[in-house]
């Protein structure tokens, strides 16, 4: 059957006949989404293993001989970079963005399917280059995920020969891939929505992904410019960021460069990156909470505006990562203010999630457990963010474990919990099978309680002044015995959480082959992706006719309606509606 692809393209959709065309060189957004997700999760597992290796060293120093100071720094660096960019960004935008945008908007595919396919393969190349650095002479870079010059390219930093070059190359390639994907997501949202799908009828998930993509398109060029300039400094000896300095007793040829400039570029990317990861999670969690509480999301317009406002503000707060860099104190005042202002729209979102739950018909299914878990970890990480946003508090806490606890809670654990919730939520649509609920619950509780066991004590360690990024604390007067005990406990918790993820993988793989057949709309959700004629949706998504949208995405528990949800494509005739709103 031939379908038209999108509104302004009347050519028939080309259905691939071969296995390779369907699953490898595929232009179908759903297949590309899965390719992105699998690759991201695959490399994410590497980062998870690295974090456990770090924890082994911190919890039980002098026990594991293969963990040297250099390899420890390499684990720190690669763990951070992989998790933030190659896992979270790629999975939330490349994975969920690709899967959900066309389906939730009633489109047949992305507007540029070929570019979309290219985006994945270029992303894969970036991952392969990154992986190659593990096998390069000298190993991967150990410069810390922020890659600050001058140390990142000088002798003495692990991986300064090949590791840093491969890292910068991989980042540049990733940004090319992201730009190709990002152009697709933005243009599809703007131009390929089905009839009736006005901007304000889009589900919050799409709003989150849409604004995050715009942020990415504006922020990633900063990293690209920084990476290219640093590469030139490293390879041919320019001095963009490198000051005149003596390295290993030798005067280098660098002169006049400013390392702080790199920090500005890096954080002009780095801070929006937090929201590139957080906004899709905000959007998705709003939909999960609304659907599983059988209640319309509280304050939908406020939720959308908050996403937009957070997106805009996040471009003006970058230097709060640089309070201790020696910049002008007036800058610190400005950036502290803008940072604290972000708390307002973010708090609106948190209150609205809670008010959506308030007196809802809450079904504590696994996706909902993860969504509620997210609210806990996010409030927690958000509040410690208010601490660190203040210069006077940040200065003593900077470079301590407090910071590690904070950002893992707010942008590590929180988005990951949403990702798990989202995978459980959409798995029946993606595979047509249902997962095992008991294993899902075990996975949730071990992960949720486990991350608290890991990150809560880190705040205490930070108050004690335990520094981050240190290979070993040694005999240090101000660090009491209890800190070492805490480190051991954290490590044990981290190992348990790491191993618990095997339950998740087992559940997903087993259910794919053996799980019971899933209902096309098992949660009674209103959004379009659950209304496809086939489960999993076929190439072209919608059969011969595109759906038409008549209502917003949150008609749950409408008084007088025959069911407790009305899908977006149900016309108004015949459904009595007495909303108190």
């Amino acid at each position: 059957m031939a379908y038209t692809t999108i509104a302004d393209d009347t050519r028939p959709l080309h259905h691939p006949k071969t296995w390779v065309g369907k699953y490898v060189w595929s232009q179908d957004h759903k297949v590309i989404a899965l390719q992105y997700s699998m690759t991201a999760i695959g490399i994410g597992v590497v980062a998870l293993v690295l974090s456990n290796l770090m924890r082994l060293q911190l919890g039980f120093p002098d026990t594991f001989k293969f963990i040297t100071p250099s390899s420890y720094l390499q684990y720190v660096t690669m763990h951070g970079m992989i998790m933030v960019i190659y896992l979270l960004t790629a999975l939330l935008l490349g994975g969920f963005g690709n899967y959900l945008i066309p389906l939730m908007l009633g489109a047949r595919d992305m507007v540029f399917p070929f570019v979309n396919m290219l985006s994945y393969w270029v992303y894969l190349l970036a991952v392969l280059v990154l992986v190659a650095s593990f096998f390069a002479p000298g190993g991967p870079t150990g410069a810390g995920w922020t890659l600050y010059p001058p140390q990142s390219i000088l002798e003495g930093t692990p991986g300064h020969e090949w590791g840093i070059i491969l890292m910068l190359t991989s980042l540049a390639i990733f940004i090319v891939a992201f730009t190709m994907g990002g152009l697709n997501y933005v243009t599809t949202v703007l131009q390929a929505r089905t009839r009736g799908m006005t901007l304000m009828r889009m589900p919050c998930s799409i709003w989150g992904i849409f604004v995050a993509t715009i942020l990415g398109l504006l922020a990633f060029p900063a990293l690209f410019v920084g990476a290219v300039m640093m590469m030139l400094d490293r390879l041919i000896g320019t001095s963009f960021f490198m000051p005149a300095l003596v390295s290993m007793g030798q005067q280098t040829n660098f002169n006049g460069g400013s390392p702080i400039l790199f920090q500005h570029l890096f954080w002009f990317f780095g801070h929006p990156e937090v929201y590139i990861v957080a906004l899709p999670a905000f959007g998705i969690v709003s939909d999960l909470i609304s659907c599983h509480a059988r209640k319309n999301v509280f304050g939908y317009r406020m939720m959308v505006w908050a996403i937009v406002v957070i997106g805009v503000l996040s471009l003006f707060v970058w230097a709060h990562h640089m309070y201790v860099s020696g910049m002008n104190p007036y800058f610190g005042f400005f950036f502290a203010t803008s940072t604290l202002v972000i708390a307002v729209p973010t708090a609106i979102k948190v209150y609205n999630w809670l008010l959506t739950l308030w007196r809802g018909d809450i079904h504590l299914r696994v996706p909902m457990l993860f969504a509620i878990g997210f609210i806990f970890t996010f409030i927690h990480g958000g509040l410690t963010g208010l601490f660190l946003g203040n210069v006077s508090v940040d200065v003593p806490l900077s470079d301590t474990m407090f910071v590690v606890g904070h950002f893992h809670m707010v942008m590590g654990v929180s988005p990951i919990l949403v990702i798990f919730g989202a995978i459980y939520h959409w798995y029946p649509k993606i595979t047509g099978r249902m997962w095992n609920a008991m294993l899902g619950q075990i996975h949730f509780w071990v992960t949720f309680l486990g991350v608290y066991a890991i990150y809560l004590p880190m705040h205490y360690l930070g108050f004690l002044g335990v520094p981050r990024r240190y290979y070993a604390l040694g005999e240090t007067a101000f660090i009491p015995h209890s800190a070492h005990v805490a480190n051991e406990v954290i490590t044990i918790a981290a190992l348990i959480v790491g191993v618990a993820q095997l339950v998740f993988f087992y559940n997903m793989i087993w259910s794919y082959f053996r799980g019971p057949k899933a209902d096309p709309n098992p949660w009674g959700a209103t959004t379009l992706e659950w209304q496809t004629p086939h489960t999993p949706p076929e190439h072209g998504n919608w059969g011969p006719k595109l759906p038409v949208v008549y209502r917003w995405a949150y008609d749950y528990s409408v008084p007088g309606a025959p069911q407790d949800f009305i899908p977006q494509n149900v016309p108004p005739d015949g459904i009595a509606r007495h909303h108190a709103t």
Binding site: D9, V186, T187, M200, V228, T238, G257, S258, N296, P571
Partner: protein, 214 residues
């Protein structure tokens, strides 16, 4: 419909299809997807070049430089060829505009001339930029000579790469036109190429102006 009205719509109030609110829900009904995509890309490229300009200005001002560092910022004397190259790029852009007008009036003869001129002039521009690189190197102002020259090489390389990308699309479009394909088939490509060329001309003028400022 204005963006404010779209974003203040109360979607929970009125189920149904309102013909006054985006019947087919496209945000820019008069533009194709490719035209929107290209404009979004302009945003990305603008940010990239703006950031380079910002770093350039900050670095020029001896940003955060400590007192014991030698100032490494030396003004350069630019080869006159750069002015010639700028002229060529302006002509190239004009040729594209001409090709665009020809395509919209379905005049295939003029379209061929415009396309050939637009592409060849862009190639001349790139060859000219490479010559400037060689001239600077011979004058002892290669990429590592001073930070100013490093910026020059970086800016021209990124700008040149963008133009080379445009030339790839030019090659495909021109091949279609010279193979006698219908003008309507290539109209969008010509339109978007012309727009892209004007954008790159603007970028070049701003960046060149920045270099001259010093």
């Amino acid at each position: 419909m204005g963006i404010v009205r779209r974003l203040t719509e109360k979607p929970w109030l009125a189920p149904g299809l309102d013909p006054s609110t985006e019947a087919d829900a496209r945000s820019f009904p008069s533009l194709t997807a490719a035209a929107v995509g290209l404009r979004v890309y302009f945003g990305v490229a603008t940010i990239m070049f703006l950031l380079i300009a910002a770093v350039f200005v900050m670095r020029m001002g001896g940003h955060e430089i400590s007192t014991d560092q030698r100032v490494d910022w030396k003004p350069m004397s630019w080869p006159p060829l750069l002015w010639f190259n700028t002229g060529v790029l302006i002509l190239s852009s004009a040729a594209w505009e001409w090709a665009r007008a020809a395509a919209s009036r379905a005049r295939s003869e003029n379209l061929r001339t415009g396309l050939a001129a637009g592409g060849v002039l862009a190639l001349v521009f790139l060859a000219g930029q490479l010559t400037v690189w060689r001239q600077l190197e011979e004058a002892g102002c290669g990429i590592t000579a001073t930070t100013m020259s490093a910026f020059f090489y970086l800016i021209t390389a990124l700008h040149g790469l963008h133009l080379a990308g445009g030339l790839a699309v030019w090659g495909r479009t021109t091949a279609k036109v010279f193979a006698g394909r219908d003008v309507a088939e290539v109209r969008q490509a010509v339109d978007l190429c012309a727009l892209y060329w004007h954008f790159l001309l603007l970028v070049w003028i701003v960046m060149f102006g920045l270099l001259l400022l010093t």
